[in-house]
């Protein structure tokens, strides 16, 4: 869900790192499955590269979730907040 300070294109937030870690995959494993370079996974996770529609759909298909569950134009809420609701201070 990273973002770069130098970018000029719109930021696309993503949950690739969470989903990948959840499934115990290395970047290389995911890269092999999506047929991209392993560094591309790193750039995607850092939010420094916006994927094509084709790659986004391939990622969604691979993880078995809707594409909007992985990529969003707005920051994702923390997973804990989504699961257990917001905790007031």
């Amino acid at each position: 869900m990273g973002r770069s300070a130098q970018r000029t294109e719109p930021i696309l937030y993503n949950r690739l790192a969470v989903l990948r870690t959840e499934r115990g995959l290395s970047r290389q494993d995911l890269a092999d499955s999506l047929e991209v370079n392993y560094q591309t996974i790193g750039y995607l996770e850092r939010g420094e590269y916006n994927p094509s529609i084709d790659l986004a759909l391939r990622a969604a298909e691979f993880f078995g979730v809707p594409v909007e569950a992985i990529f969003s134009r707005k920051p994702f809420k923390p997973m804990s907040e989504q699961l257990y609701g917001p905790r007031g201070g």
Binding site: R27, N37, Q39, T40, I41, G42, Y43, S52
Partner: protein, 158 residues
């Protein structure tokens, strides 16, 4: 083994270093010719200024090797993913822009010298060999330099 570690080392260069190498490579060879032209007309002993011409030249040669090693076949390779293809295309566009600006600057500079200061530029063999050598050596390096300039910092390892 040694070769592979050199490649790995080059591919881990931080962006700031890559940018310095790219600029130094592009300026080294023309700088060598300019340095030589400046000093060869003077009466200063060659032993004093001569080695610096070699240093300028060396900067371009070593820089070009580093850039070729860094970019590898990612500038012209076929098996690239979509991000790499996008970066390669941006590198070619940047190369064309740099080349266009360099040619335009040379034409404008020459026009100013000829028209503004009423001086003559003699394109003799020495000048032409310098220009053609610079173009012949640096134009092929330019896409590699652009690629090294553009690529962001590599992501941290898993």
């Amino acid at each position: 083994m040694e070769g592979r570690s050199m490649v790995a080392l080059a591919q881990q260069l931080p962006r700031r270093i890559r940018r310095v190498v790219a600029v130094a490579t592009m300026l080294g060879l023309p700088g060598s010719y300019a340095w030589y032209a400046t000093w060869s007309a003077s009466t200063a002993p060659k032993a004093v200024w001569g080695p610096f011409s070699f240093v300028f030249l060396l900067v371009s040669v070593v820089g070009a090797l580093v850039l070729y090693t860094y970019a590898g076949n990612r500038v012209s390779g076929k098996h690239l993913d979509e991000r790499q293809r996008q970066l390669r295309d941006r590198a070619w566009v940047l190369s064309y822009s740099v080349l266009s600006i360099a040619v335009a600057a040379a034409v404008v500079g020459a026009s100013i010298v000829v028209l503004g200061f009423d001086r003559t530029i003699v394109l003799d063999g020495r000048v032409m060999s310098g220009v053609t050598t610079c173009f012949g050596v640096l134009v092929p390096v330019l896409p590699f330099a652009s690629f090294a300039w553009l690529e962001p910092e590599p992501p941290a390892e898993d």
